[in-house]
């Protein structure tokens, strides 16, 4: 670990200014990922701006019936909030399937969204990584591929985004509020994270210094049932091989609305818009669910070491939708 300075910010504008001015500065929230990466010298900030007191740690009702989650709300508080558990079960389930109790106590909502990939080559400074050092090459492409992407990857990067929470938020049409050098802006969660394209060093669309201040959830549709299904290599404390956040509304045996997002498949939480479009208006049957999954996964380009993720993603999507259908009956 390199030596670094530590400052606690009192004002959002001052923190933003510092980050814009000092290229070696970084925001520190829960630190559950950043501090690990500093120990590994994957990131080497010279100045940490502690932002834990800058943003809200409260969950508030919005006038439209939605919720506003402060960026500093710990993952454990968000998962346990009765309103979240009742109205957005998929979000609570996703949070509780991630990390450990201790980590969830420390990790924040904003930090969870901005955590880095757990690609083993990204986390090891002795192996080449385009995300760490642009142009250095991708060691994962021909390396250990089990946790790598099957959708939306590029020749420069096949890493996946590790968050469970973000997958649920993608399915819920959440909006992220961001403070920055200019005025505050709102970004749809599905547009916050990027695909790697030619510049995988950029995880998100955030500009230098921009700070997530909160996440807004639109009002829940009363008939929408939702759940999070995470498939991984052991029962606890492992990242998703495949995860599915799904919400389903069925009227008279037909799908009226479906929201589906996938985790473990791409550089970002993957909103399965093709599957959703296929489902809308279709009969709520196993065959429709299979068709929808197949339509979404027709774009999959797996590597030899993760080809199993395609049937796994299909089966998990179908099983999750069938469970929601069962629940609706």
């Amino acid at each position: 670990m390199r030596p670094f300075r530590y400052e606690r910010a009192d004002e959002v504008s001052a923190a933003v200014t510092t980050l814009v001015r000092d290229p070696e500065a970084a925001y520190l929230a829960g630190g559950t990922n950043l501090v690990d990466l500093m120990r590994l010298e994957v990131v080497t900030p010279e100045l940490l701006i502690d932002i834990r007191r800058l943003t809200s740690d409260r969950i508030e009702e919005l006038p439209d019936g939605g919720l506003r989650i402060g960026a500093a709300v710990p993952n454990s508080d968000l998962a346990a909030d009765p309103r979240v558990r009742r109205r957005y079960p998929v979000l609570s389930q996703a949070l509780l399937s991630g990390a450990s109790g201790q980590l969830r106590n420390l990790a924040t909502t904003g930090g969870n969204l901005l955590q880095r990939t757990r690609c083993p080559y990204f986390q090891d400074i002795t192996t080449a990584c385009n995300k760490r050092t642009p142009g250095a090459g991708c060691s994962a492409m021909e390396g250990y591929q089990r946790d790598m992407a099957i959708l939306g990857a590029s020749p420069t990067c096949v890493a996946t985004h590790p968050s469970d929470m973000a997958v649920a938020l993608a399915a819920l049409d959440a909006v992220v509020t961001v403070a920055g050098p200019a005025s505050e802006r709102r970004i749809r969660l599905t547009e916050l994270h990027r695909l790697p394209e030619a510049d995988p060093e950029r995880d998100t669309v955030l500009a230098r210094g921009e700070l997530i201040t909160g996440v807004e959830l639109p009002p829940p549709h009363s008939a929408l049932r939702s759940r999070y299904r995470k498939v991984r290599d052991r029962a606890s404390y492992a990242f998703a091989l495949i995860s599915v956040a799904a919400a389903l509304e069925v009227t008279d045996g037909a799908v009226r609305d479906a929201r589906i997002a996938l985790g473990g498949v791409a550089h970002k939480p993957w909103r399965a818009t093709t599957a959703e479009a296929t489902l809308r208006g279709a009969p709520a049957t196993r065959e429709s669910f299979l068709d929808a999954a197949a339509a979404e996964l027709s774009a999959a380009r797996p590597l030899p070491g993760n080809a199993f993720k395609v049937p796994l993603a299909r089966n998990t999507m179908v099983a999750t939708l069938l469970e929601l259908l069962e629940e609706a009956r």
Partner: protein, 710 residues
Amino acid sequence: MSHVTARPHAIGLPMDRVDGAQKVTGTATYAYEWPLDQPVYLYPLQSTIASGRVTGVDSALAEAEPGVLAVLSHLNAPTLTRPDDPELAVLQSAEVAWRGQFIGAVVAESLETARRAAGLVRVDYESRPPDVVLRADRDDLCSPVHAAAFGTGGGELQDGSPADSLLGDVDTALAASPTMVDTTYSTPMYHNNPMEPHTAVVTWLNGELLVRCSTQGVSMSQALISGVLGLEPGRVRVVSPHVGGAFGSKVYPHAYAVLAAMAARIVRRPVKFTLTRQQMFALVGYRPASIQRIRLGAGRDGRLTALAHDVIEQTAKAKGYAEQVAVCSRMMYAAPHRRTTHRLAPLDIPVPTIMRAPGEAQGMYALESAMDEMAIACGLDPVEFRLRNEPEVHPESGLPFSSRHLTDCLREGARRAGWEHRDPAPRAHRAGRWLVGTGMAVSTYPSPRFPGNTATIRVGPDGRYTVRIAAADLGTGTWTALTQIAADALSVPVGQVEMRIGDTALPAASVAGFSAGINSWGTAIWEAADRLRARLRAEHGGIAPPEGLEVSAEMAGGNPEAERYAMHSFGAQFAEVRVDEDTGELRVTRLLGMFDVGRVINPKTARSQLIGGMTQGMSMALYEHSVLDPRFGHVVNHDFAQYHIASHADVHAIEAHWLDEPDPHTNPMGAKGLGEVGIVGTAAAIGNAVHHATGVRVRELPITLDKLVS
């Protein structure tokens, strides 16, 4: 003053750990926590190539860092006196034999400074393409040649067994068998991963070396460390009272201890060095990967006619290490024609070492999986098939077993597991989305006694006994069990016995390995107690004299009975698994083990040992897997987030039971080893249950969901 009283029978009682309060209150001092005056810290440099040589070391930037005291490399390291052991011969040449090997170290006033400065050292290499892939069709497979470190067999394998064995004519017998199974199984590289990382805290004082470390045997560490440094053994003291897990990786001292000693001599300050989790994947050993071909022939009566077990395993080019993978097949079942072989693939990989049940863990996975396949091929129940092939005596040596109650384990285990209701048809039982199956396998592990143990017991005028032996407690409860043994041997309550272990200032002891600890140390303690009681009676009328009395028993040899009996622990394990039909997710919903481990000294710590072994066996079956990158030669998943070990949520119902039949020949207590038998057979029982649940036979560990999803 105290009179010798009637035997209080501490053996067999579930006594709480004597060190339990210290541990739960955080006052048990582990090696790295030892308070020192003005220590300095070491951070190592590791090679980033797997094969080649270091051509240049530029340490100027690191040396210029404030707080840096020394930068070591092969260019300036002291020459070791007897660098016979290539693993311990640290910094003695420019050669690099595996990725992650020590190529230097930075010593600084703080750990942070040392680590940062290590990143400033520039190393140039001449690199060769690494050769790290184990394949059965390699043309450079070789027979093991290195002499064994343990055992008295004089063979080439790590336990002293010969590399190959042959009885009868296997090929002819196989060809003539009505039923034959010919299958190949593979097991990956596994890392021991004890919770407490390997540590050396080293102080030189007047030419003498004090090493505080975490080891399974202070006496062996003393011998090997003093040897490589060219010191009289008496000038090296090794202290290790508490060990936070080891699983074999702390039997042998590894290079880190020598590196720390070297550094402490150069900077003339006490040096603290503990490995990071990532470093442990390159520097403290692992269970080598194996490819095992098993051929079984059976007659129409369901009895084996032939058994062949041919093993190919990884080893390091740097140091040959040959694990006894097929040795279990030499003693497990009766068959007139039998053969075992071991061949090695020497690779540019770290040096392997002992890991819990070395050999048996992998070998019994293969043998017991093949036995399941053969039982099915013969149309026999797997329990019945094993009962039919139970040998009367050791099938190769012809020696009788000191005790072998495997058939009782099979019958009683089957009864407790509800085995009689089992429908043998695969893929026939469901519970919702889960396919449900059951499987079983047999466990075994030798029960040896090591030479080189001395126990000293002193009784004070207050009637309190101090028992001294340089034994080790790896967190298993040995400290407590030895206290119970001493109390019974002395015929006094345990409260009158104080046990001292884990220090070479105490009488020498063999390592905690090969499930030999209780057998070896307990026998020495028992003998010393007998002698003390005899002298108290003969010379002092049974009353401790005012000046106290001290008696030692030196057990130079092993168990003389071992020439007349084959000594092994046994067990039968039963597993129930559920496999999600959609995702291949697998849950072990029940594990039941029924063991024959002789007399159990402490049921509480014994149960922990057995269910701990079974849990590690489950972890071996389903989760653990060190992934070697063939291009770079390093373990890719080198941390606890990526190297998956069974979590609490993975363990459902788990039970360990035992027969409690004392063994008449192993030792005065009637105990057999139980530290390792629990991990043996678990993986096969689970794999067999997966086949029963799904109809899919996975022959490559670990059984991950990608092998079951469709």
